[in-house]
């Protein structure tokens, strides 16, 4: 055996075997288990597809993910634009506001939203104290609570790609537009915004993909009307022990995620840094 082949085998063998045993085979078992019980059947997919309650869960998942994406874009763009407009040193400092919470426990961040948004929470108390409201608002166990927390958690996925798209625009283009007499607003609409669109598209796809699999936020901040696919999967496994049905749901979520991710990689290949949600 050639020495280089041996080296590759020694280096890549252990991690790939580990991944095969602890990741690929369990996932393969899920795919297998959704269609063989023990004979080949599509009954579980049919049930998922035919039962209106489950259809609703998919619809809710898509709706919440889409709304999260839209709000993340609306809030993330000005944040990224602001970060792009300041001096590099200031930017490094301000970026900590985006990076640090991104690394903090997702569970803790969801829990904090619960204590902020509950009936006797900080938000309701302040609004009452300031005389804005008379009685506490229902801010959680509904779609609002889920959206606030999800947008809060997923904004970094939007800000990073938009910021890198904005920073990649040569400043000469804006100067040229201004020196040719364009109003700053029209320079923004006709030069900056279109050129930063690949960043927005990348961010939107990432936010949407990650939203689809969200579990903790709808479980803690949502009500029964905000049950997403992940929560239905957990319910099927842990409450009703219907494994094959949970497998069918998990497979559908997996397939959707991988499909969108393939689009993300294909469409943005070469144009965006391939960080795959890694900051």
């Amino acid at each position: 055996m050639k020495r280089s082949t041996l080296a590759r085998l020694v280096l890549l063998g252990p991690p790939l075997l580990f991944l095969l045993a602890a990741f690929v085979l369990p996932l393969a078992r899920v795919i297998w288990g959704s269609v063989f019980a023990p004979d080949f059947t599509l009954a579980f997919y049919e049930r998922m597809w035919r039962t209106p309650v489950y259809g609703r869960v998919f619809w809710i998942t898509l709706k919440i993910s889409l709304l999260t994406t839209v709000f993340a874009a609306l809030l993330g763009y000005p944040a990224a634009y602001f970060l792009a407009s300041v001096k590099p040193r200031t930017r490094q400092l301000l970026l900590l506001c985006v990076i640090v919470p991104f690394f903090l426990s997702v569970l803790v961040r969801n829990y904090v939203w619960m204590i902020l948004l509950q009936r006797t929470g900080l938000v309701n108390r302040l609004l009452t104290e300031w005389g804005v409201i008379n009685r506490p608002l229902e801010l959680m166990y509904n779609e609002l609570g889920v959206l606030v927390a999800m947008v809060n958690m997923l904004l970094p996925y939007m800000i990073f790609p938009v910021l890198s798209a904005l920073l990649a625009i040569p400043p000469e283009l804006r100067h040229a537009s201004a020196s040719l007499g364009a109003h700053p607003a029209s320079t923004f609409w006709r030069v900056t915004l279109p050129l930063s669109m690949p960043g927005v598209a990348a961010g939107a796809l990432l936010v949407f993909i990650v939203s689809l699999g969200f579990f903790i936020t709808p479980a803690l901040l949502g009500g029964p009307q905000q049950m997403m696919v992940s929560n239905l999967i957990e319910f099927s496994v842990r409450q009703v022990l219907n494994w094959p049905f949970a497998f069918a749901l998990a497979n559908t979520l997996l397939l959707g995620t991988l499909l969108l991710y393939a689009i993300y990689v294909r469409a943005l290949e070469g144009r965006m840094p391939r960080t795959a949600g890694l900051p």
């Binding site: 602890a22 944040a79 919470p101 426990s105 803790v108 700053p184 803690l220 497998f247």
Partner: protein
């Protein structure tokens, strides 16, 4: 003057809008810190008599300490496994042709893309059959899978900056591959290896979804105990525990950010 106003106003509006979004990202999570110093047995948002009562309760509780100890144990295990395997993988990927490299790289990053709940169900089913549910070993295995992609990416990008000619020179001068790695390659990627180890620790320490399924009743980690307490605990101990978790993550993260600064 009017001209200045015209250019200043949009800048101020932008700073206000951008600043508000940045505040929305950081401020909410920080509000838990003052809450954690409540001394009463009921919930207080702004403690009337600040004190360390809740921290004392946390550190004096054998139950919570057991969970904390287990979390640290699992995170250390996952850190070692993910860092060793991820570094090996990154070193191996570099020796492949472009096409097969990209394919294997995608496979190694896949655990980050697959939704946690899907992996949770898969690994729960397989672990249940293998008797690994509720064991520290099982948790280490599953957490290592989730941390592996970060190590591969971080170490991989550090390896981009390593000149293969240096390694070839070392090899041709008679040093073995292990010596070459230890004396030539490793010193150049040291920061990335240590950094991704810290990162792997943090990934494991904060993991909830997969752990919720496979920790069973015997091997509950700190986040899983917190999850249970969110539903059942009425006394205000959770803000204190949340603060401990935040501080632990910051302790792990700070050296990483400092390294990043140095690198840029």
């Amino acid at each position: 003057m009017r001209r200045r106003l015209r250019t200043l106003a949009p800048r101020a509006a932008l700073a206000l809008a951008g600043g508000s979004v940045l505040a929305f990202l950081v401020v909410p999570v920080l509000t838990v810190i003052p809450m954690s110093f409540s001394s009463s047995m009921t919930f207080e948002l702004i403690p009337t008599v600040p004190g360390l009562t809740q921290y004392r309760r946390f550190f004096a509780s054998p139950d919570w300490m057991l969970a904390l100890g287990r979390s640290v144990q699992v995170a250390l295990g996952a850190m070692v496994v993910a860092t060793v395997l991820g570094t090996l993988a990154a070193l191996g990927l570099r020796r492949l042709a472009r096409h097969s490299r990209r394919l294997l790289e995608a496979a190694l990053i896949a655990p980050r893309i697959v939704p946690s709940i899907v992996f949770a169900v898969a690994v729960y089913y397989v672990f249940a059959g293998a008797g690994l549910v509720g064991t520290v070993g099982g948790l280490v295995l599953a957490h290592s899978v989730l941390a592996l992609p970060f190590v591969v990416v971080f170490v991989g990008s550090a390896l981009h900056g390593v000149d293969p000619a240096l390694e070839e020179a070392s090899l041709s001068l008679g040093a073995g591959p292990v010596t070459t790695f230890a004396r030539v390659t490793f010193p150049q990627i040291r920061l990335a290896v240590f950094g991704s180890a810290l990162f792997a620790f943090n990934v494991s320490f904060d993991e909830v979804v997969v752990t919720l399924f496979i920790s069973g009743v015997r091997a509950k980690t700190l986040p899983v105990k917190v999850w249970d307490a969110i539903f059942y605990e009425i006394t205000p101990i959770l803000p204190a525990i949340s603060t401990v978790i935040i501080v632990a993550s910051l302790a792990v993260l700070t050296p990483l950010l400092l390294v990043r600064r140095k690198a840029s």
